[in-house]
């Protein structure tokens, strides 16, 4: 559905996006994972035609995206991070406006408005002003506006940002439904659990580059199945890792100031690890053991933690 090759963008001296390449098929949910400011939104804006790339090509359904390609833009749906709706208008009026921009009118428009309101389960509040909606409901209408014209490719820029768990759950279900109907979805988020549960494939971005890409299982295999122990405290991570090496033979995933993460075969290794730390006279303020997840993968690939 979309094929991106060598996409790059520079703002002055800052290289916001560097040589990004990937492709997404119909019905696939493709996640962009990374902390704020790593180039996710810039990449999305280039793929939507809002920004012109310095280099690279974007092919949507076999046609190249360029500023004048109205036909290609009709195939794109965009759900921005902000709630881009008119608060004084009702959900129906907002949707009718967005539909009108895509040339929908009359019965076709009415029918689509009804369809998407049903999709986001807001039919009963359709005529209420957006300003009276909760944050989660507004985000659902925001999503509905992005898919109203039935695009085959939908860009969703952190659609669950600032939404409570119940609201997130509802939105994620809608995204799955959309993918099941054959739409290709490019989804940016900095919630790792969300990306892990939702996305078929994930690209991990840092400093404008894609550092790793694949399904969660493929990314996990880069770290190893097993478990990881994360110790945090007032210590020098690399020095502690060196000291522990004599008594403990686990692979060091990451070490830094106040942080040491090691890979272990199973959960029972935790006791041995704590004993080894005590033998070195070091106490951890925070100690946890968990199965390999995207946070571990991100730490392994970027050398830093992904903070919400």
């Amino acid at each position: 559905m979309i094929e991106v090759k060598g996409l790059s963008k520079r703002f002055g001296d800052i290289r916001a996006v560097r040589d990004v390449s990937f492709s997404v098929e119909k019905g696939e949910i493709f996640g962009f994972l990374g902390p704020n400011g790593v180039g996710k939104t810039t990449s999305i804006q280039m793929m939507c035609g809002l920004l012109t790339p310095d280099s690279g090509t974007i092919m949507i359904d076999g046609k190249e995206l360029n500023p004048d390609s109205t036909e290609v833009r009709r195939k794109i749906g965009f759900v921005p991070q902000e709630t881009a709706l008119y608060p004084d208008l009702s959900a129906t009026e907002n949707l009718r406006f967005w539909g009108g921009l895509y040339g929908l009118k009359g019965d076709a428009l009415n029918s689509r408005v009804e369809d998407v309101l049903r999709l986001v389960e807001l039919t009963n509040r359709a005529d209420d002003k957006i300003a009276t909606y909760s944050g989660g409901m507004q985000k659902r209408v925001n999503l509905a506006a992005g898919v109203l014209h039935n695009p085959s490719l939908v860009f969703m820029d952190e659609p669950t940002a600032g939404v409570d768990p119940q609201g997130r759950f509802a939105i994620l279900n809608i995204v799955r439904e959309l993918a099941a109907s054959g739409k290709a979805i490019i989804y940016t988020t900095h919630y790792m659990d969300e990306a892990q549960k939702l996305c078929d494939r994930i690209a991990i971005m840092d400093l404008g580059e894609i550092l790793g890409m694949g399904s969660f299982e493929e990314l996990r295999d880069q770290v190893g199945k097993g478990f990881q122990i994360f110790a945090k405290g007032d210590f020098d991570g690399p020095k502690l890792a060196h000291q522990l090496r004599k008594e403990y033979e686990g692979e060091v995933l990451h070490s830094g100031r106040g942080l040491l993460a090691v890979v272990v075969a199973d959960a029972t290794e935790l006791g041995r690890f704590v004993a080894a730390m005590k033998a070195q006279g070091v106490n951890a303020d925070d100690l946890k053991i968990k199965e390999t997840d995207l946070e571990t993968v991100f730490l392994k690939l970027t050398g830093r933690e992904l903070r919400d």
Binding site: G49, A84, L85, L89, W98, K129
Partner: protein
């Protein structure tokens, strides 16, 4: 696409009853203020107190005096034939709006085809009455010039006769009188002498004059306020991602800006329509003054649009624009005579502002409300319109560029 964008804007307006009320109430308030400045209370006679000093004492000077005391003109002027010294004292005491002097030797100069002059001294604290007097004085001198131009033979006979024939003079004057009576309609200057006089006694200042000085500013500020909210909303939409979302659709940036501009102008047009509808019966405006009023409002709207477009095109954030805009608007309004009329400015500044093409909207608007004669088109119109449209175009280009910069994350 434009239709969809405009429909959304009007739907939003309809959903905001306070804005709609303000939009409709605005011209009503402006008109009512104007009415309170220019119009009489019910049943009060419209008269301007005027002293006529006839130092020439000839049949011609008697005829001139007679035109002002004529039964029909008596509805406009309260003429006192008193000595010059007494007249000056009464003017000083603000009891007179002006002194009209026919100097000795005027008739001689007039009939001998030599430059002849009449004198008019006006009371500066009575700006409205002064306007009436100046207009009348211009018509009167035009009429006398006309008599000399149209009837040179008769004037020559009168001159050679060395003794003015009253009948001949009145025959000449009859046609001139027709003219002055026709022009009198243009002089229907709705002001109450009694009301104005009593206010002066209470306050010791020209209250109406001050309101008159600020009226164009009130009108301009109101239009500016309406347009500012339109541009501010555009700025907000830029910052909250709405514009980005619109631009992902098949809508283009040019279509978006065009819709904003059209919406702004339609808003202002709505204000004008209400203002006209209310003004025409209240002021008994003639077609000419309706056109003049239209021109004044269009100019003010253009100026306000320019000011907004220029401010919002600056490469600064919306919050900073709001703080910055008040300073810029006050400065621009001061310099263009919009906030304070040049009538109450010091001499040098008054001269500079009143000659500026940017003073044109104020002048036009004031004259349309006061039913004063004024050319419908002057050279200042061309300079004003041309420069404002050019600056507006440049501002819109800058605004467009700002949106693009914002999209690139540079603002």
């Amino acid at each position: 696409m434009l239709k969809v964008l405009l429909k959304k804007d009007f739907r939003k307006l309809a959903k905001d009853p306070l804005s709609l009320l303000f939009l409709l109430a605005l011209p009503l308030v402006i008109t009512l203020i104007a009415r309170s400045v220019f119009s009489p209370s019910e049943g009060v006679k419209f008269v301007v107190p005027l002293a006529v000093v006839d130092q020439d004492q000839t049949p011609l000077s008697g005829f001139i005096t007679g035109t002002l005391t004529n039964e029909k003109m008596a509805s406009l002027f309260d003429v006192h034939s008193i000595p010059l010294k007494m007249a000056k004292q009464q003017l000083h005491d603000n009891e007179l709006a002006g002194i009209f002097v026919i100097p000795k030797g005027f008739t001689d100069q007039f009939v001998n085809q030599k430059p002849a002059s009449l004198e008019l001294t006006t009371n500066p604290s009575r700006q409205i009455s002064t306007g009436i007097l100046q207009s009348t004085f211009e018509i009167l001198t035009d009429m006398l010039d006309g008599i000399r131009e149209l009837f040179p033979e008769q004037i020559k006979v009168l001159s050679e006769a060395n003794n003015l024939d009253m009948e001949a003079v009145f025959q000449l004057g009859r046609s001139a009188m027709d003219k002055i009576l026709k022009e009198k309609d243009l002089l229907k200057f709705p002001v109450t002498f009694e009301e104005e006089k009593s206010k002066k006694k209470e306050t010791g200042s020209s209250t109406n004059g001050i309101i008159l000085a600020f009226l164009p500013g009130i009108a301009f500020m109101s239009i500016l306020f309406v347009l500012s909210s339109v541009f501010k909303r555009q700025g907000e939409e830029l910052e909250n991602g709405m514009i980005n979302r619109i631009l992902v659709s098949p809508a283009t940036l040019n279509q978006l800006l065009s819709a904003t501009l059209i919406y702004s102008l339609l808003m202002v047009f709505l204000i004008q329509v209400v203002l006209w509808l209310v003004s025409i019966p209240l002021f008994h405006l003639q077609l000419f003054h309706i056109l003049l009023l239209f021109k004044g409002m269009v100019y003010m709207s253009l100026l306000a649009t320019l000011l907004n477009a220029a401010l919002f095109s600056l490469p600064i954030k919306l919050s900073s624009i709001e703080a910055f805009s008040s300073i810029v608007i006050i400065l621009v309004c001061l310099l263009s005579g919009l906030l304070v009329s040049p009538l109450i400015m010091p001499g040098g500044l008054r001269s500079m502002v009143s000659k500026s093409p940017f003073y044109t909207p104020v002048e036009v608007l004031t004259r349309s409300f006061t039913n004063k004669s004024y050319p419908l088109l002057t050279s200042n119109d061309a300079i004003f319109t041309g420069s404002v449209l050019l600056l507006l175009f440049l501002s819109l280009l800058m605004f467009r560029s700002k949106i693009n910069r914002h999209r690139a994350g540079k603002v």
